[in-house]
């Protein structure tokens, strides 16, 4: 492997299972990682990946409320993020969910390297500010917070106890509406994950409950579509294709990654079955080039897959057409063979189960993965693949 392509490994001292990209920041590749430890002081790490120097900068903030199960960041304000946590005190296990704000200095154009230098003598700013405590009578245990993927909007959905709750942060945090997922056979649905539909102004929200996927219209609170028995076992994660409406990817305990067209929910469009030998915990479309699929699982593997045939660019990128319209170029575009699907790479830097993978919000070619032993690995799409897509 090229030296430049070598992965960057960052070790946390504590176990961790939550990772998210800093979605509001579109210039710098930044990720937020939170630790999960019952007995030690938990931390939130802000990691910045410098692509040019292939370096990693980080800031570490204490997370005072306990171990973090889920972290996610706002799309509208890069400083805002949320954590879902639990803590054990005086014989009681309590869960909670809070919105936090990073210190203002973080929001600098130069990146973390300048701040890190400053910080040596500047400790007071080394904390995160609590913005709001999300509490509601309807949802006791918030397991996930998912921000609406629109820059101008400051809404999120909190999941927990078989319900979803829409919150608005634009003025003061307030619960807009609560919606209970219908029970199945008298049992409350256990929501494993959820996702906003980024298309059509993000009016739909999909949740994974058990083996099924169901999607709800947030305004009317009616069901939009559902995929029954999407996986043979638990569905662990799902993601919307950012460029192609109606296409989603799901993964689960049956070691499979499945692609669906939600208009035809009886059969998956495609299934990846070869590459994971245990549960797949996360799957993500690349936010820019949706033929790149990332998945990570408890077999400690991160797999990068090319699914060009069902992507929005089955014949490669057609950017050239607008730029130069000479006949020869048009011809070459027409003659271009469809890009073949296939496994691009298996990244096996992890030693423990990988519970989260995320693409960078700023750089289409890098991504981070987190394993339970607290290891964050930042990898890049191999150059060859990158050039194949770009050229």
């Amino acid at each position: 492997m090229d030296i430049e392509d070598a992965p960057i490994i960052y070790g946390l001292e504590l176990p961790a299972r939550s990772l998210c990209a800093q979605n509001g920041e579109t210039n710098l590749s930044r990720y937020l990682v939170a630790t999960q430890s019952l007995r030690q002081e938990n931390q939130v790490h802000l990691i910045e990946f410098d692509d040019e120097n292939n370096q990693l900068e980080k800031l570490i903030y204490p997370h005072p409320c306990g171990e973090v199960w889920h972290i996610s960041s706002s799309y509208s304000d890069p400083l805002i993020f949320s954590t879902c946590f639990s803590s054990f005190s005086s014989g009681e296990l309590t869960t909670g969910c809070k919105i936090w704000k990073l210190p203002q200095e973080v929001n600098s154009e130069e990146g973390l390297s300048s701040i890190a230098a400053d910080q040596i003598g500047n400790h007071p700013s080394n904390t995160i500010e609590e913005v709001a405590d999300i509490k509601s009578d309807d949802i006791k245990d918030v397991s996930h917070v998912l921000w609406k993927p629109l820059e101008e909007d400051c809404q999120f959905i909190a999941l927990g106890n078989g319900s979803m709750q829409l919150w608005d942060m634009s003025e003061s945090p307030s619960c807009v509406s609560t919606f209970k997922i219908p029970e199945r056979k008298g049992h409350q649905c256990n929501i494993t994950n959820g996702k906003w539909n980024p298309h059509h102004g993000a009016k739909q929200f999909a949740v994974a409950t058990g083996q099924n996927i169901s999607t709800w219209d947030v305004r009317s609170q009616t069901q939009a579509f559902k995929i029954e028995n999407a996986h043979g076992q638990l569905v662990r994660d799902l993601d919307y294709n950012p460029n192609k409406q109606y296409h989603i990817v799901t993964c689960g305990d049956d070691c499979l990654v499945k692609f669906w067209d939600v208009r035809e929910p009886t059969l998956p469009v495609s299934v990846l079955s070869e590459d994971h030998s245990h549960w797949v915990w996360a799957a993500r479309f690349n936010p820019f080039h949706d033929q790149l699929i990332l998945s990570g699982g408890s077999d400690s593997r991160v797999v990068l897959y090319n699914k060009a045939s069902i992507s929005s660019e089955p014949y490669g990128q057609l950017l050239d057409e607008d730029l130069d319209e000479e006949d020869s170029d048009v011809d070459t575009n027409r003659d271009r063979e469809p890009v073949k699907d296939g496994l691009i790479a298996v990244f096996d830097e992890h030693e423990d189960s990988v519970y989260a993978v995320e693409w960078s919000a700023a750089d289409p070619w890098s991504f981070a993965s987190l394993s339970y032993d607290g290891r964050v690995v930042i990898n890049k799409v191999p150059k060859k693949v990158k050039f194949d897509i770009l050229l």
Partner: protein, 802 residues
């Protein structure tokens, strides 16, 4: 002498010439000229005819001296003397001959004179005879002319009388029914009558004759059209009619029409069987045998009725029209009466083409019927019957072919047979498939049924596998035997090239056998397709196991055996083998492997479900101090033991990587593993105080990565290892999602220890179990709010008690 003759020669040239000629003649007579060749003309040579004595003398004198001359003279004198004496003897010798010759000539002269007289007498006699002869001839001439005339008149009168009598004769013939005679009379006279038509009396006769002949014709036609008249009669009729100048084409048509009506009856009969079949077939196939006739009988009736009648018709027709026309035209030619209607070649041709189209039409109908009938039996069980029917059909066709070499009967018939053979092969393919599906259902029932009984909780899977495999094999064998009937030597059509090659290679080998093997493989593959796992009813794991073993058997022996059997029975050359044994076996092998993996996944899944619910449903923070192993763990061990038992029926033990060096371990598994396990716990004891994530990381550095849903081998331990790995990994992942109190951790410790005690024996490498369980405990310690581990001795006690 030479000298003298030389002297005398000068004056008399002519004499000399004559002498020379005589000399020549004598020479010729005595044959001397060959010896000397051309006599030399040297005037100095003493023997030469041109000898010049003067030259000679001059030369002698010039060249020789005296003594020499003297010698020459002496010599010469001597020569002359010898020559003289020679001449004398010659004269004496020839004198006597001359004498006798003269005598002979004299007597001859006398005799001839006498003969001359007699010859003269003879000449005069002959002249007298000639004279007499001429006289007689002239007197007899007039009489002879009269006699010739009279005899001519007589024959003419005879003919005329025949003509005049003809009508009566014909009538008589008509009355007597001897049409042949009548026709021959008529044909002989027809030309004459036509010639003298202008004469009143003759035209009258002709009219009469024609009337009678027409009557005869109509009578003949009557016989001709009569359905009951036999072929001999018909033949006679046609022959006569042809000779009477009836147009051959029309006759052919009429005859064929006539025959056709008869043959159509036969076909109608056959069709009625078919119709009966249809109605019976729709009501109930098995019950209608009284109504319908089986295919063999159908063929019999077809061949005996229709085909034999057809052959008869053809034979008769050929006799009548093709041979008959030749004969009649010949007789016509002999009669000298040339009829334009009887141009034999044209008629033959016309007759032949008519016959061909006639036969072809009928055969097509017949074949259509036969095919329909055979296809009705496409799904019949009794192949032998069909083969026999086909054989009979084929033989009859062959017999018919000899009659009509021009019609391609064999090709059409062959096509039908090929079609039927193919249909049969497809039927067998279907039948095999059905059989296999039945087998699967049976196996499924056998697996699920005895579970209700308490005693025998598991059917002996190996027996089940063997019985299923042998059932399938037997079925294949019986099918092969059935199909082989098509190629048996005493079946005539087996000699067709199709049956020697394509049938064996394509239909039997590919369509029936190879396809079936592929079908098995595909059907079984669909069982382990995990994507439709949740949608269809999942097959019981034991079935998967059984099927995988079945596939394995197929891969290892059965497929090769079946194919070899087929190749041998049908003598298929290796170059015609489209699908190779190797490909099929690998296909089977892959299926077996997939099934096995599916088994591992299903078994692992059911264990996983159990474990997951047991972890998730419990509040681990509010545990009481562990007193015993949780029931679910016992269940897990029980299930694994059960699986192990199932697998043990079917698969070999497999390789175990070296456990600890202690070989007695097997006999005392519990105690030894306890020792070993103690060392593990020993490692854990301080880990509560140390940074355990570091510890586990170091541990992992030295242990190999475990592929949880990894590849499985065909061995008991490998299978069980797969199942156990899946179960333990699930346990690990579930533990990580929970938070434990002190007692929760301790309970889990107990559970894990219990698993360790019982699970190691199933797996190929017990380190896998240890490693995974260690990770479970490590994770649990991490997820524990108050990580106080239990004393190993207490754990031991609890586990032993349980």
């Amino acid at each position: 002498m030479s000298e003298s003759s030389e002297n005398g020669a000068g004056p008399d040239q002519e004499n000399d010439q004559r002498r020379l000629r005589k000399n020549d003649m004598l020479k010729m007579y005595y044959g001397m000229d060959g010896g000397n060749g051309q006599p030399s003309n040297d005037p100095l040579d003493i023997d030469s005819p041109n000898f010049n004595a003067d030259h000679y003398l001059r030369k002698l004198k010039q060249e020789n001296n005296l003594s020499e001359l003297m010698d020459a003279e002496n010599d010469m004198a001597k020569q002359i003397r010898t020559l003289d004496s020679d001449m004398q003897t010659l004269v004496y010798e020839n004198y006597n001959k001359f004498i006798s010759a003269t005598d002979t000539i004299r007597t001859m002269k006398r005799d001839f004179r006498q003969m001359e007289d007699e010859m003269e007498k003879l000449t005069s006699n002959m002249a007298a005879i000639t004279q007499l002869n001429a006289k007689i001839n002239s007197t007899m001439e007039t009489n002879r002319q009269q006699i010739t005339k009279l005899s001519g008149v007589h024959s003419l009168l005879k003919k005329l009388q025949f003509l005049f009598e003809l009508p009566a004769r014909l009538k008589k013939c008509l009355e007597m029914g001897s049409y042949a005679a009548a026709v021959s009379y008529y044909t002989r006279t027809r030309a004459v009558l036509q010639h003298y038509q202008h004469m009143e009396s003759f035209s009258g006769i002709e009219r009469d004759c024609k009337n009678i002949v027409n009557e005869i014709i109509s009578k003949l036609k009557e016989t001709f059209y009569d359905k009951d008249s036999n072929t001999h009669q018909l033949a006679e009729c046609v022959g006569l009619l042809l000779r009477l100048g009836e147009p051959a084409g029309l006759l052919c048509d009429d005859y064929l029409q006539h025959a056709k009506s008869k043959l159509d009856e036969d076909l109608q009969e056959l069709r009625s069987y078919l119709a009966g079949e249809n109605s019976a077939g729709t009501s109930d196939e098995s019950e209608g045998p009284g109504l319908l006739i089986d295919v063999l009988e159908f063929m019999d009736r077809g061949s005996n009725g229709f085909l034999s009648n057809l052959s008869l018709t053809i034979a008769a027709y050929e006799n009548l029209f093709i041979k008959q026309t030749e004969v009649s035209s010949m007789t016509a030619a002999m009669d000298g009466s040339f009829s334009p209607l009887l141009q034999s070649n044209d008629v033959c041709e016309v007759a032949n083409t008519k016959l061909l189209s006639f036969v072809q039409d009928l055969l097509e109908t017949y074949f259509a019927l036969v095919e329909k009938r055979l296809m009705l039996d496409k799904r019949s069980r009794d192949n032998a019957l069909i083969v026999r029917a086909l054989d009979r059909f084929f033989r009859r066709l062959q017999a018919t072919t000899n009659l009509l070499p021009n019609v391609n009967i064999m090709k059409l018939g062959g096509e039908i047979i090929v079609k039927v053979a193919k249909a049969r092969c497809e039927h067998y393919q279907l039948a095999l498939k059905e059989f296999f599906t039945d087998c699967l259902t049976d196996a499924r029932h056998a697996i699920s049924a005895p579970k209700g009984k308490s005693n025998q909780s598991h059917p002996n899977l190996l027996d089940l596998v063997n019985s299923t495999a042998s059932a399938i094999l037997n079925q294949i064998k019986s099918v092969l035997a059935d199909v082989q009937l098509f190629t048996v030597r005493d079946i005539n059509f087996s000699a067709m090239t199709y049956f020697r090659r394509e049938f064996c290679c394509d239909d039997v080998r590919e369509v029936v056998i190879v396809h079936f093997i592929r079908y098995i493989s595909e059907t079984l593959l669909s069982f382990c397709d995990s994507s439709n796992l949740s949608k269809t009813t999942t097959p019981p794991p034991a079935l998967l196991l059984l099927l995988s073993r079945l596939c394995r058997d197929f891969e290892q022996s059965t497929v090769a055996y079946v194919l070899t059997l087929t190749d041998e029975q049908f003598m298929i050359p290796s170059r015609d083998k489209t699908s190779q044994v190797g490909d099929l076996t690998t296909e089977m092998g892959e299926t077996a492997h997939k099934l096995l993996e599916a088994y591992v996944q299903y078994s692992g899944l059911s264990l996983s479900r159990m474990i997951r619910t047991s972890i998730e449903a419990r509040d681990w923070l509010k545990c009481v101090e562990p007193r015993q192993v949780r029931a679910v763990m016992r269940r897990v061990v029980e299930e694994v033991t059960q699986s192990d038992q199932q697998v043990g029926y079917l698969y070999e033990e497999g390789v175990r990587t070296a456990r600890s060096s202690d070989s007695s371990k097997r006999t005392h598994p519990v105690s030894v593993s306890r020792q070993r396990e103690r060392s593990h716990w020993g490692a854990y004891a301080p880990s509560s105080t140390m940074d355990n994530s570091l510890l586990s990381n170091i541990q992992k550095l030295f242990s190999e990565r475990v592929d949880v849903f990894g590849p499985v081998e065909f061995s008991r331990t490998s299978i069980l290892t797969g199942v156990v790995k899946i179960a333990l990994k699930t346990l690990l992942e579930c533990v990580r999602l929970k938070t434990f109190s002190k007692f929760g951790l301790q309970q889990l410790q107990v559970d894990c220890h219990y698993l360790q005690l019982y699970l190691w024996r199933f797996v190929s490498d017990e380190n896998i179990v240890h490693g995974l369980l260690d990770e479970v405990i490590a994770s649990c310690v991490h997820r524990c709010v108050e990580p106080t581990v239990m004393e190993p001795s207490v754990i031991d006690v609890i586990c032993e008690r349980g």
